[in-house]
Amino acid sequence: MRRNITPLLFLFPALILLITFVFYPTIATIWTSFLSWRGWRSTGFAGLHNYIEVLSRSSIINLRRSFLKGPPLGALPHNIIWVVIHVPLSTFLGLLLAVLLRRVRGGFLIKSVIFLGMVIPMIVGGILLRFIYDEHAGVVNAVLRAIGLGWMARTWTAYPDTALFALIFGSVWIWTGFSMIVYSAGLEGIPEELYEAAKIDGASRLQIFRHITIPMLKPATMTVVMMTVLWVLKIFDIVYVATFGGPGRATTVLALEMYLDLFFKIPSNPGTAAAIATLLTLITLAFAVYMVRVAMVRR
């Protein structure tokens, strides 16, 4: 009896925290999404009404625009674009930097500078992006002018066709520090003997990288990809500060739409906000479950 209770006692503190901060809010949010609301007062069960309303909004899925026409496509497609561009780019850049700086003297210093992006609060990152992309004061346009491409200079976050991509690339700059650090740690864990054996067997540097480094870094890659996807799906602060989802909702994302429904509408609409939150959770959960299953199969 005592043996059965002891593990539960150990779980107790963590369970309390999980129930309070994860399970209850999640269930409450899902329940909220099925109710109709007048301001902050629930007026009854709404079934799937909130979900239908949310998914039929042009701000969530804009049927008037196609991928070829470019933004504003709606928050959901924008989130997908974020994942499609941000995840491979930040993962690849992190790997590249980790490998290049591995044996460079003073590499730790360069890594620290790159990692600074991760240290600054995302709100500050968003403000920095506004300056970086400014037509007259921004460093991006200064570089363009310096290399003779001054005709391209513009406030990149002010135009619907470039604003979304400007935010994504800015976010890659901030996030690459994370993937670089994870890959750096992964590289330190690869036994030197493997490289020595490959060299003795006459393998080229590219072959070593392809057949030893990359496979040995798979756990690190799993971590980087999973964390980046989750981070990108719930992206909010950078968008909020840099563009507030504009111009013309060209940069809006699901988390921002949820926030606007709850706090920027009068009366607030907790039902639709909760529906967006639930959809976001489902998408994130589906991806997380897939990644965990892949990881377990490999193991």
Binding site: R65, A158, D161, G246, G248, F263, I266
Partner: protein, 477 residues
């Protein structure tokens, strides 16, 4: 040796026992922490009992007089005798805590400085202290309803410029009805009507403002031989001349932030290139953004955008700096321009109305009292004071402020504000479009205009989106 081993054996504990003990300690610590936390919270939030001060006062009335009147039939005799009375009174006094009201508004810088003068006058008159906390547009628009939803309010009094927002809060029961606190006849009827729902007035009119036209730097115009235009063709000529001046980034500055400066200049186009009635019809939902008349106005605007006459939107106060640095020629802005610190010399600041316009937008700032204030009586006093002529005259004399109370004397206005007031007398004054409709329409209007400014070729998308949201919004109102 053996005995020592036994002793040690006796003290040995198994790993399971050790872990179990550690677990129990951890759980006890967590529970204790939770209890202490909850206890601490309750102790912190409970109100301390008022401290009673006992005072004993002994008073001696030396050489006081006692008057006794004796009335006999037909005669009256009055006898006065000097006497000394000593009284000892012991009273228990519960000192009333000093009230300090917290006021939220959107004003900072010079506007806040002027507002503080009015608040000081209130404190001098009533003894009630007032703390002003400036807010951002988002902070006020989002933060306040969130606090109200939780049944609380940090602010005791709020000054806000959005009548639709105020009406919503009133209907939701979050703010105190002020019908009995103000005299509606003392204000222009529209300022009261805008915050009235079913005969209940939810706010007191305080400030009136107007968006009279384009502001410019007089010395810059003189230097380049430019004159304020009166007709549309003169306006177009001016823009072309400005564009050709070296150093000019764009003839017209475009303000950004959350988006209202773009909506202001757009509304000037609706009124000037359309008519004041077109603006009213949009507010009342009689027409929408796909209407040919509205579309015509937007086509005029788009024409100027395509010719590069407007700058890319940038933070609105930074644009005043650039206007003063002669990077832009003109800037459409409200009458508060005269109080902006970026205007280095207000005498060098001129304005001209939108060419050939028959109307202008005027709006206001209203005072509301949240239902959740801890000092409702004091807050009501402040509301009445701000809505009254004394506070408004102080603000008017400080400049950049137009009074809503009709008892404020005309001679109190500064020359710059007087010019705005005189101009308003010559045109049809209409409410601000997005402030009057409010809600999701307001945010969408601001956002879609940002899109139009950088992508004028997307006019159809913009008008369709605006029509969609506008139709829903006016149906609701």
């Amino acid at each position: 040796m053996e005995s020592k081993e036994n002793i040690l054996k006796g003290k040995k504990i198994t790993r399971r026992e050790a872990i179990s003990t550690a677990g129990k300690i951890a759980i006890t610590a967590v529970i204790t922490g939770v209890i202490a936390g909850v206890g601490g919270y309750l102790a912190g939030t409970s109100v301390a009992p008022p401290k009673t001060v006992t005072k004993t006062v002994t008073k001696t009335a030396a050489a006081a007089t006692v008057t006794k009147t004796v009335t006999a039939p037909g005669t009256t005799v009055t006898v006065t005798k000097p006497t000394t009375i000593t009284t000892t009174v012991t009273t228990s006094v519960v000192p009333t805590p000093k009230v300090e009201l917290t006021v939220f508004s959107l004003w900072s810088g010079k506007e806040e400085e002027n507002f503080l003068k009015a608040l000081k006058a209130f404190t001098d008159e009533t003894g009630i202290a007032v703390k002003h906390v400036p807010q951002t547009t988002e902070g006020l628009m989002i933060g306040l309803p969130t606090q109200f939803a939780a049944g609380a309010s940090v602010a005791d009094v709020v000054v806000a410029p959005w009548p639709a927002w105020i009406k919503e809060l009133g209907e939701e029961g979050h703010i105190i009805e002020v019908t009995d606190l103000i005299d509606p006849s003392k204000y222009p009827p529209s300022y009261v009507k805008l915050v009235t729902v079913d005969g209940k007035i939810y706010a007191a009119p305080f400030k009136a403002w107007a968006k009279p036209g384009f502001w410019y730097k007089k010395s810059f115009f003189e230097k380049h031989g430019l004159t304020p235009p009166k007709t549309w063709s003169e306006f177009l000529d001016l823009l072309e001349k400005l564009k050709k001046i070296p150093g000019i980034e764009a003839p017209i500055a475009s303000g950004d932030g959350v988006g209202w400066p773009l909506s202001d200049v757009t509304e000037a186009f609706i009124i000037g290139r359309g008519s004041p009635d077109l603006q009213r019809d949009l507010i009342e939902g009689k027409v929408t953004f796909t209407d040919p008349n509205v579309r015509g106005v937007f086509e005029d605007l788009v024409d100027l955008l395509k010719k590069g006459y407007f700058s890319v939107p940038d933070e609105w106060t930074a644009q005043i700096d650039k206007l003063w640095a002669e990077k832009y020629g003109i800037y459409f802005m409200g009458n508060w321009m005269t109080t902006m610190p970026q205007v280095k010399d207000v005498k060098d600041l001129g304005f001209f109305p939108f060419p050939e316009t028959k109307g202008a937008v005027a709006g206001g700032d209203w005072v509301i009292v949240p239902k959740y204030t801890k000092h409702p009586e004091e807050a009501k006093k402040l509301l009445k004071f701000l809505a009254g002529p004394k506070a408004q005259e102080i603000m008017v004399r400080a400049g950049g402020f137009l009074a809503t109370n009709v008892d404020v004397p005309a001679e109190a206005y500064t020359p710059a504000d007087k010019a705005v007031v005189d101009f308003l007398k010559t045109v049809d004054v209409v409410p601000d479009l997005d402030d009057a409709i409010g809600g999701e329409f307001q945010r969408t209007f601001w956002d879609q205009l940002k899109l139009l400014w950088t992508s004028p070729e997307m006019l159809d998308d913009v008008l369709e989106t605006l029509a969609e949201v506008h139709t829903k919004a006016v149906k609701k109102t």
